[in-house]
Symmetry: C2
Subunit: 388 residues, 2 copies
Amino acid sequence: MGLPQIKLSRIDLEWVHVLSEGWASPITGFMRESEFLQTLHFNSLRLGDGSVVNMSLPIVLDIDDSQKNRISGSTAVALIDSADNPVAILNNIEIYKHNKEERIARTWGTTAPGLPYVEEAIASAGDWLIGGDLEVIEPIKYHDGLDHYRLSPSALRAEFEKRNADAVFAFQLRNPVHNGHALLMTDTRRRLLEMGYKNPVLLLHPLGGFTKADDVPLSWRMKQHQKVLEDGVLDPENTVVSIFPSPMHYAGPTEVQWHAKARINAGANFYIVGRDPAGMSHPVEKRDLYDADHGKKVLSMAPGLERLNILPFKVAAYDKTQQKMEFFDPSRPQDFLFISGTKMRTLAKNRENPPDGFMCPGGWEVLVEYYDSLAANDSGRVPEPIPA
Amino acid sequence: MGLPQIKLSRIDLEWVHVLSEGWASPITGFMRESEFLQTLHFNSLRLGDGSVVNMSLPIVLDIDDSQKNRISGSTAVALIDSADNPVAILNNIEIYKHNKEERIARTWGTTAPGLPYVEEAIASAGDWLIGGDLEVIEPIKYHDGLDHYRLSPSALRAEFEKRNADAVFAFQLRNPVHNGHALLMTDTRRRLLEMGYKNPVLLLHPLGGFTKADDVPLSWRMKQHQKVLEDGVLDPENTVVSIFPSPMHYAGPTEVQWHAKARINAGANFYIVGRDPAGMSHPVEKRDLYDADHGKKVLSMAPGLERLNILPFKVAAYDKTQQKMEFFDPSRPQDFLFISGTKMRTLAKNRENPPDGFMCPGGWEVLVEYYDSLAANDSGRVPEPIPA
């Protein structure tokens, strides 16, 4: 091809995957400036017919000065992977300034150093963004043994139809499933049946793109989720397990809108939202970056998501009297134990067991095995497979 | 009154003024959390009937821990001025967290130190915000000889009706009017007449609230604007000069939406938007804080402002061949001189004259007089009158 080439990073390729399958519909290519500005300022886009769709995260491709100079005069560029294979063509391109500080401030509500996505994908990015219409050469595959889990929105819709689902409730996660999560999902199904739905189907939808270094990698999470189904904690009859190909921003109330919007595009009509969705600790200060309730509140008011049914997460905790995960009962706080993600990881690292009933034994074994492999490997983290 | 009291700062009082007169309609009191979150994330509010109105700046009242403790249990508070006179009651109050970092990042797109409004009103503000329904005891007056210029939105609408205006075009400013501005305003009128309007009226609407220390104070600007009308640069027959009581955020594309929205509430249906509206230099880096075109672009796409007619500002500059301000002609750049605000202030400070035709002589004399008074006073800035 005679087109100027842009080499994609791993995260760029994840976005190509996301865009090519329609998760961000009606956006089908890297954003042009009008879409970028609407995303930053309004978390939504106004379409030609006056309707409004939600779009809270910028999906953009950066280039540096020298790349910009090489492209000059072209109306299209070829996007290539790390092995120089062509992946996609970006047509009718538009190049505009990449004000990184403003992008970060408006997306995360902070510019503090140490935001994982910023460090990975923005801090050393180029000073220009290039938008256009994306034309993918062939479907993105990762060849990591997990591609069969990567169903596109249309494949998921077909699956829900095949199962005769009359309600689809989506659960976004980037962590191992413990029995608190499972309680919530089974309770949601119970509520939907009570509401009169005959066949509610759960979309258990772990995020498959970039995650921060101390999150459990996708391959291990998928093993753990498989055990949870094998152990009967969730019912395979009314559960679809699939991978959501997006990278993670950890942008709290801004990102939870993206997580919900993308699942609507895949056929979900109910979205389970928990405490502090897509949140993390402040990278510098000793506090959570976001108010734990803001995600739920912002999601409930977000433009373009008016028709989504939001199911707020009740807080589950370990009930010492029943020796299982239960919804927290504020009348007897002394009976409950909150086991944080950090606590869970520390236990697994030290090969200690959590209290009985916290997670199914098969799932816990996977976690312990993961941390054992880490210690053996000593690199700090098992590397993620690279898409090819 | 037995109500807990909150003492208002000068900027708080300016917001009480803004809210009480309906500039921020349908918001009529300091924001509750749902309004605050929608403002930060969406620059707009969804009303009960599903319609959307623009609202890009948080209009909030902060309190600290001890004030919050004193209020505890009350459903209303009294707002008092610096002389302890009651100004308003805030009813059905809601107290919620004031995450200053997030507010600043999402409003300004930066958290760099040195943003004038942040330094003045946020940096040392309390960690809580208090929202509620505002009930003002009597109209806010400043007794500075300028109150007759402070027309409310309904007074302005009545004035436009009295003048049989069939189009109202608003011009927001916080600087002295030079002949480039005047050219733009007269040219806008010409365009509106060409479009078929019979009686377009200009709302010349200087901002009257908080401005940064190196801006020319309101009282001097009003003198200068008066001279511009007396000297015949603008025609009093089709010009209404009034003061917009809002404080200035210098928040660029976010703030320009507020500037336009408030003028719609006062009856304007055309809004003139210039290069880099509500912009300033980056407080730390050597560049403008905002892209000069973003204000216009964001305004044109802003939710709730779909029906506003935006008139983009052509760039005017001093044409040396004609010895007057003219629209810049890119075919002969060498003939034009750009005179920045900084350059203008430096000339006036040094009692030097700008090129003939840059500003009417009467207006220029006011500016020179202002900088003379500053030098005499030596306090760095003539203090603004305090509202009483």
